[in-house]
Symmetry: C2
Subunit: 345 residues, 2 copies
């Protein structure tokens, strides 16, 4: 029997609040450009007061990836915790209406839905300030065995290591996946996140708890505390069976066992907002692998989805990725197609 | 003493939920394209369930205009009613951080902040479904004499005729404005809105309750139940001292007493979303008139702001309108400049 889902992703369920910002605002806030930092409710209020007019859009790294998989026509599921509030409604609506299976029970009483205040500087970089709120209440009880068992790939975000309970949920999900002969994958998420959890991430890889690792070049270098990308990739090849490393304007490389491939970056008319580019790379890659496309094809689809994402504001596809793939001559696998109607924002 | 505000706008305080939609969705919903219709909480839920993934951005016609005035560097104030909820926070944040004075007391207990579900069809037209919620609780008590007295122009949206109490607030504001030698203006808002309140709108004009009228060509024709624009404009000239009529791709015309001018539409690279184009036309026009620019200059600035608005998703300026005006060679009046830092979304 083929699995019910191509990809299940698990992560922090977050609504993004996106606003342009000048470089000096980062200085005034005392934040480092391009990083994700965690903030408490009070700091969230302080930053919001300093931000300019914003727009809101559903985000959350792994949720963005699930949306991307669905946009390719893949069968996607998502697990993450929102609260019963307006932002929770927005998050739930957006992911479900993209065709993603999302049934995690919302938090009834307690912290509000998580939000991430994203400052977009004129160089299109995004600096993220995340108040995790309800995400702290994702627990092992939210990991349903049947959903994990039904997914060819389970994909977990490294950010899940921040809320203490979610880390246990992460391990449970990986265990279930393997018990059912499925594959578990992880994104390292952010180089500060790697700094916080280096030993644990390396252990996940070396112990075989994860079968496939996603990283950008900064995260890969941070993991091995090296300034040299080649060294980092060599270490990755030693520590895990398969990985994909995104290289920004230089595209991406990926390996699976002895096979090593690379793909150039997609041509992008205008670099507008880098938010979500890595998430969408993972979407293309995972979708392709779950449908038995080659490693090279998967890397190419990843670059295609990542390139689409940086051309507009917001972390999820603004066009149908399956249509985009057809437009550039990629033959997608035939299969049950979900959610062909897609957002163009 | 010069007034503290160039423009005070009063309207329904709304957060927009924007999503692309195919033509057939309008048919399934039974809605007429390009119109604004009012819906109740139950219908709001039904439509949201049918909508695709969306983004959220502050809206509300008159609020968009206030944001546009501030973006030109004008001193703007706004009166409108939100609730104490997440969408209310979003609305308040966005308008204040644009530099608009907004101190209307929020509704503590009752209906939620208003929302407008906007379906954007591939032809860039927007079809609006508005749940007014807290807007029903805007009353005469929210109209502070000192704020109205301090504004050179008070601008009222025709949509205020829908919530019954707001209509009284509208009249009170116009009366205060005139008592202090200021000017009152109105936008007819929507041709269905004109159908609902034709007699009252004509009375406002003929009685001199409003000194300046904004309409698009459909609204002008609807007001006089004619298919002929020239007839409608001739009637407008008979019934009110001054008016500005937007003509879509043909720009706009305006008159003030015997003077009649027109301006071509701004060149627009790509028509993305018509939402807010009329609101931004009013912003440019009112800002110019409040700073004693000529009628022709005001019409040109209106077209400039309207043209900027249709080039991106969302009803408020995505760039600094004062910068845009300088870029195209318009010399803006010198004066206190508010809110030079502006959103680029």
């Amino acid at each position: 029997m083929s699995p019910d889902f191509d990809v299940l992703t698990i992560g922090n369920a977050i609504v993004d609040i996106l606003s342009p910002a000048e470089e000096d605002m980062l200085v005034r806030l005392g934040v480092t450009k391009s990083m994700m930092r965690l903030i408490d409710a009070e700091e969230a209020e302080r930053i919001y007061d300093m931000m300019g007019p914003a727009v809101e859009a559903s985000g959350g790294s792994a949720a963005n990836t699930a949306a991307g998989v669905a946009s390719f026509g893949g069968r996607a599921a998502y697990i993450g915790k929102v609260a019963m509030d307006a932002f929770g409604d927005v998050f739930s609506h957006d992911i479900r209406s993209q065709g993603v299976h999302f049934e995690t029970r919302p938090l009834f009483d307690g912290a509000p839905t998580a939000r991430c205040m994203i400052l977009i500087t004129p160089d299109s970089e995004r600096t993220m300030n995340t108040y995790l709120g309800a995400c702290h209440h994702l627990t092992v009880d939210d990991i349903e065995e049947k959903t994990v068992a039904a997914a060819r790939y389970t994909y977990l975000e490294g950010f899940l290591w921040d809320p203490p309970e979610a880390k246990k949920a992460f391990r449970k999900a990986a265990d279930i996946a393997h018990a059912h002969g499925r594959l578990a994958s992880i994104t390292l998420s952010d180089s500060f996140c790697v700094d916080r959890f280096r030993a644990e991430f390396l252990d996940l890889m070396r112990s075989g708890t994860v079968d496939l690792v996603f990283a950008n070049k900064e995260e890969a270098k941070a993991l091995y505390e090296t300034h040299d990308l080649e060294t980092a990739v060599a270490c990755l090849r030693r520590d895990c069976k398969a990985a994909a490393v995104t290289l920004g304007g230089d595209g991406a490389l990926a390996f699976d066992g002895d096979e090593l491939v690379s793909a150039p970056a997609s041509e992008v008319e205008e670099l507008v907002d880098m938010t979500g580019a890595g998430d969408q790379f993972a979407a293309g890659f995972l979708y392709a692998r779950s449908r038995d496309l080659t490693l090279a094809e998967a890397t190419r689809l990843g670059c295609l989805a990542g390139g689409e994402c940086v051309g507009h504001i917001g972390p999820r596809p603004a066009v149908s990725l399956s249509q985009l793939a057809r437009d550039v001559g990629v033959k997608l696998p035939v299969g049950e197609q979900w959610a062909e109607a897609l957002p163009k924002i």
